[in-house]
């Protein structure tokens, strides 16, 4: 369920149908993503792009469905409705639902699973024995539909329980049927501004292409073949509505048995469930027959009342889990917001004593960049790795000029299936060897890190960390040990030679131990990576595990517990977020939620802001760190809309606006300016600004004067969902300033 967009991918090499809700993979999937999808198109994949504007990815898709912003859950719910209430049951993978999901688990009157009193295991109704049995009893045929008189124990939050006798309970799947009954395509059509027939045809295509019952043999193992997948874009699966979309996306995959199987929807990488280097090993048994997931505790006495991070991810977001990566998944903007104004009943925020900035420029790449810049200007001591003068290092106390990737030395892991669109038959290591000499006083990262360690007295710990794998490879293993002496300062090449040797040993199981010279000569070194490992399904089957869908009892429980903990602490400002902890999410008026949050916080009439403003990833600017390069600017200009405001011609005509007119775009928070770029491929109620650049210091970039939505998008608690995420979305007004310059 916690499959968010940046780790989820269609099985692009095998899939037949991709329904993409704003996932701009052609621009954000990197070189690999472009190649995978081009290959898929060459063999005739059908991608349907559902999004308010015709992005680069929409351009490369078989069909574009212009949907009203932030109404994607309604479209997805209607697809679920078609699958459950309009299609024949044979269109679903019933066997998968019974064996690999929570569908047959009986739900007790208070919304929690009915459990076997002795074992605590959730019960299912066995159609063969005609009685309730623990879910994992062999040779049963669990019911998916119907109501059954059963007895057992229902366990709620904080160990509260209810014992039921002959209570009427229905399987989770039956609850799903009832829950989705009213979400018809006709209902969704009015919300999404997409014809019901279009929604129905997309849903039908999804079911038709699922190839229920078909299998495929991979490396001698027979697996289900379900070549249909759904992708979600950043603005779709971030902020309010993200939960509904992630749930429906993953549920649809489950309904056709297309989750983590060939052709279907895949998680691709490990971020939270460790170990990070092997997806199969990350699959371990959790409670109730589901995969283990390291939620942050919410039980009394275990909950972290005093946050250990500035955005309180372990305190507020159980789903962010408790792993080294978790901090990146928490409500990042709360950290910035709280620097200005702490939240009631949380500890007073403090600035970092020393703030390191490595290859990022948050002063121009965040919401409400003005507020973020104000906060960072007050930080007592800032150290920036620097490549050019930029908006963040403008206020730094120390600049560390670092080599660019063409100037520095590093051994990088390659191949496997780590991260989206990385579907490789090999895995191993590649050397990034300097292609040119550093410019000016730039130094290799390794040199800088070593010097920092030495001069701060951390050399021993630093070397020990490298030995343990901080540079990407553990330097010792069975039959080899290339550990560095911890009491000594090592040179760049010495460090990487040891890493290369360890990498050679790792990849050859200790047979070879060649170092830097080998990699310099050969460039890379790989070994075979089984395609089977692209999919979690074999690991799940081996351990008899399930996905917790469609019904998410765990979520309901931790939500109740979290609510209790917060209220015990006197915290009520997270109450709206607590409502998201539903076992089956309901549609909520998401556009209205945005409008209400903006109008209430800024005390404005939202009718004065008639347009939705969105952004889209630029393929050429990528994350935007290259905005200061003339050549990138030049080639990016070949793609419509860079540096301007993309608008529908009919909408422009209504306002008397023409191509090139300079307009002011204002939200309740701020203003930006730019030239109108007319394109037919955008909804009349939507504006688009490609990239998000607010440069005012970075050479060259500062002169581009490109409009940016960053200064227009507020950081509001009311626009943060239960996972603490917000979306690049705001309502704006337009005012003509003048004609084309």
């Amino acid at each position: 369920m916690w499959h968010r967009a940046f780790t989820v991918s269609p099985d692009t090499p095998l899939t037949e149908l991709i329904i993409s809700f704003g996932a701009n993979v052609e621009a954000s999937g990197g070189v690999c993503g472009v190649k995978r999808h081009a290959d898929a198109r060459a063999r005739g994949v059908r991608r349907i792009q559902v999004e308010p504007h015709l992005s680069v990815t929409g351009a490369c898709s078989a069909q574009w469905v212009p949907i009203r912003p932030k109404t994607d859950p309604a479209f997805l719910f209607a697809m679920v409705h078609v699958a459950l209430h309009e299609a024949d049951r044979s269109a679903l993978d019933i066997a998968f639902l019974k064996a690999r999901t929570s569908s047959p688990y009986l739900v007790a009157p208070n919304g929690f699973y009915l459990r076997d009193k002795k074992t605590g295991k959730p019960l299912v109704w066995d159609l063969i024995a005609k009685k309730a049995v623990p879910f994992d009893r062999p040779r049963i045929d669990p019911a998916l539909e119907g109501a059954f008189e059963v007895s057992g124990r229902e366990t709620g939050p904080d160990d509260e329980f209810w014992d039921h006798r002959n209570a009427t309970c229905r399987p989770a799947f039956d609850h799903l049927l009832t829950h989705m009954c009213t979400y018809t395509p006709e209902w969704a059509a009015a919300i999404c501004d997409v014809p019901a027939d279009t929604i129905r045809s997309v849903a039908t295509r999804f079911l038709d292409h699922a190839h229920i019952g078909e299998t495929i043999e991979i490396d001698g193992v027979t697996l289900p073949f379900r070549p249909v997948a759904i992708s979600l874009g950043k603005t779709v699966n971030n902020g309010w509505g993200g939960y509904e979309c992630c749930w429906a996306r993953t549920l649809l995959a489950c309904l056709v048995g297309g989750l983590e199987v060939p052709g279907g929807t895949l998680g691709t990488t490990v971020r939270l469930n460790r170990p990070a280097d092997n997806r199969w090993s990350s699959v371990t048994p959790g409670p109730d027959g589901f995969m283990h997931y390291p939620m942050n505790p919410t039980a009394k006495g275990e909950w972290m009342a005093s946050p250990a991070s500035r955005h309180a991810h372990q305190t507020l977001v159980p789903l962010a889990a408790n792993s080294p990566w978790s901090q990146a998944l928490g409500p990042t903007h709360l950290a910035w917001m709280m620097q200005k104004q702490g939240l009631d009943h949380l500890p007073e925020p403090t600035p970092p004593d020393v703030w390191f900035v490595y290859r990022t420029n948050p002063a121009i790449s965040f919401w409400d960049t003005g507020a973020v810049s104000d906060v960072m200007a007050d930080f007592p001591f800032t150290v920036c790795f620097a490549y050019t003068h930029d908006e963040t290092n403008h206020t730094a106390d120390i600049l560390l000029p670092e080599c660019t990737d063409l100037e520095g030395l590093q051994l990088i892991r390659i191949g496997g299936s780590k991260y989206v669109e990385q579907f490789w038959n090999h895995q191993g290591f590649a050397l990034r060897d300097p292609a040119t000499k550093p410019q000016g006083e730039a130094r290799d990262f390794t040199w800088i890190a070593t010097q920092l360690a030495r001069r701060t007295g951390l050399l021993e710990a630093y070397n020990a960390a490298i030995n343990k794998g901080a540079a990407g490879v553990r330097l010792f293993g069975e039959g080899y040990d290339f550990s560095l002496r911890t009491d000594k300062e090592h040179g760049i090449e010495d460090i990487w030679d040891a890493v290369c040797r360890a990498a050679s040993a790792e990849i050859t199981d200790g047979a070879d131990t060649q170092g830097l010279d080998y990699f310099r000569e050969h460039g890379f070194r790989t070994r075979a990576f089984s395609v089977l490992q692209w999919y979690l399904y074999p690991a799940l089957v081996e351990q008899g595990l399930r996905f917790e869908l469609p019904y998410q009892e765990r979520l309901l429980r931790i939500g109740r517990e979290l609510g209790a903990r917060l209220h015990e602490q006197g915290i009520t400002w997270w109450d709206d977020q607590l409502k998201e902890y539903e076992p089956l999410p309901r549609w909520q008026d998401l556009p209205g939620k945005w409008e209400r949050a903006l109008s209430q916080h800024f005390d404005v009439s939202i009718a004065d802001y008639p347009f939705w403003l969105l952004t889209a990833r630029s393929m050429q600017y990528a994350w935007g760190a290259n905005a200061g390069l003339q050549m990138i600017h030049e080639v990016a200009d070949n793609i419509a809309g860079h540096g301007g405001i993309i608008m529908n011609p009919a909408a422009a005509q209504k306002l008397g606006l023409a191509e090139g007119d300079v307009v002011e775009v204002s939200s309740p928070l701020g203003k930006t300016e730019g030239a109108i770029v007319l394109r037919q491929g955008i909804r009349p109620d939507t504006l688009l600004m490609i990239g998000q650049f607010d440069h005012w210091v970075t050479p060259f970039a500062k002169d581009l004067k490109a409009p940016s939505m960053n200064a227009l998008t507020p950081m509001l608690l009311g626009l943060s969902d239960a996972t603490g995420s917000g979306a690049d979305l705001v309502k704006v007004a337009l005012r003509r300033i003048g004609p084309s310059p």
């Binding site: 052609e26 070189v31 472009v34 190649k35 081009a38 290959d39 898929a40 198109r41 060459a42 005739g44 994949v45 059908r46 991608r47 015709l54 680069v56 929409g58 351009a59 490369c60 898709s61 078989a62 069909q63 574009w64 212009p66 393929m619 050429q620 003339q630 050549m631 990138i632 030049e634 080639v635 990016a636 070949n638 793609i639 419509a640 809309g641 993309i646 529908n648 011609p649 009919a650 191509e659 770029v677 007319l678 394109r679 037919q680 491929g681 955008i682 909804r683 009349p684 050479p699 060259f700």
Partner: protein, 523 residues
Amino acid sequence: MTRWAIVADLNLCVGCQTCTAACKHANATAPGVQWRKVLDFEAGVYPDVARAFIPVGCMHCEDPPCLDVCPTTATRKRDDGIVTIDYDLCIGCAYCAVACPYQARTRVDHRVAAYGGKAMRPEALREDPKRIGVAQKCTFCAGRIDFGRDNGLTPGIDPDATPACVSSCIASALHFGDLDDPDSTVSALLAGNRHFRMHEDLGTGPGFYYLWERGGADSAPLAPAPMVAEPAGLAAASPELQKSWDWRAAINFIAGGTGAGLFAATALAGLFAPFLWPAAVVALALVAAGLFFVWLEIGRPWRFINVYFHVRRSWMTREALAALAFFGFGAAGIWFLSPAAWLSAAAFGLVFLYCQAMILRAAKGIPAWRQAGIVPLIIATGLVEGVALFAILAVFVGSGPSMARGVLPVLIALVAARYGAWRRYRGALGRDGAPVHAFKALDRGLLTLCAPAQLAILALLAVAFVAPVFLSAGAALALATGWFFKFTLITRAAFNQGYGVARMPARGAGMSSPGIKPGWMVS
């Protein structure tokens, strides 16, 4: 034989511009110069819209218009189909730039650094002074191909022997190979997919193919791309006003045409009346002035002698040769007052005028110029201007007034003929279609060749039969409308071809859809 070509699979192209960047790096082109680029097209109206990315550049045509027009033979075509430019021969006249219907050629007159001021180290290292002031364009990375062939590599297969744009393509959308090799990738792609070439109707035989739908190649020609006069957001693909030839070139057409016509009028009048030598001197001076101004415009003016290298094909070379003969016989005619010399000069003047008309006709990149009707129209305007100026000069010189009245019927006939030529030209242009802004430029203003102004001229000239004072006014107006027309034609109506897509591609399992020719209309 070998015929190199590029095949772009529009189903696969994502518009990433990696090819654009790779080309810039491989060829060290100046900031703003892109030998290869990918255009961002849209066709249709919301919500039925298709978007496609179209790589463009030099098409290395079978029958390259740039090759025919080059006055110096700097542009050549190799046996393998690659169209090349010899930077040492090129004079930078930019005739090839206006002849190319793919906007593939540029001329950079000054060093430009990416960040202004001082060049970066890599820029300075790779600077090529030979490229300043001359035409430049995509070479199909001929150097890489030749290197590959010399070293046993296969262009289109081995990256080092393949154009940088193709080698860099991250979507495998671009392919390079030999069309004459039935086993090459490009031959197989063309055999297995439906495809078009850009501006196929111009007959240039581009060596650049666009695949738009899977399945066997269809021999039936595609219908021309639908013209859309004012498409939203397609400025980069729509026709643009050419910037290669400016007011200096316009002066050459104005002064050259008038001078040639004036000398012809003077010479013919000299058969019936005293030779009006001052008019002949003015005629020579006008032609010389026109050529002087156009000389000011070329990128490498001191190489102008190279213009005489291509008499077999270039109308610019022929114009230059005719000018030489015109000046020689003209000067002799004036000096020796020899009718034979006058008449010879007049004949070469008319050849010069014809060459000027053909220069425009051969400029395939400019729809308003390449119309067949441009030839009689330019000749008619030159003659009208010459006779009109002769009449004006005659009024003020010696026994001129009676001579002026004598040419009045001729002038009236020529004005009528010019109007007829204009109608024919404008009608054909309107039927064939042209850039919207070309029509707007041609039809705008009072001093046009359209009916009101021409009727006014004819009325003035008719009245001049009884009231000679109106002759000069009529002649001046005839002169002015002709000059205004040519100035407009060269500097305001000279929109280039722009780009067009015959079909928007099918993406994956999707359907193809109608293409678009943005910025064009029939009128």
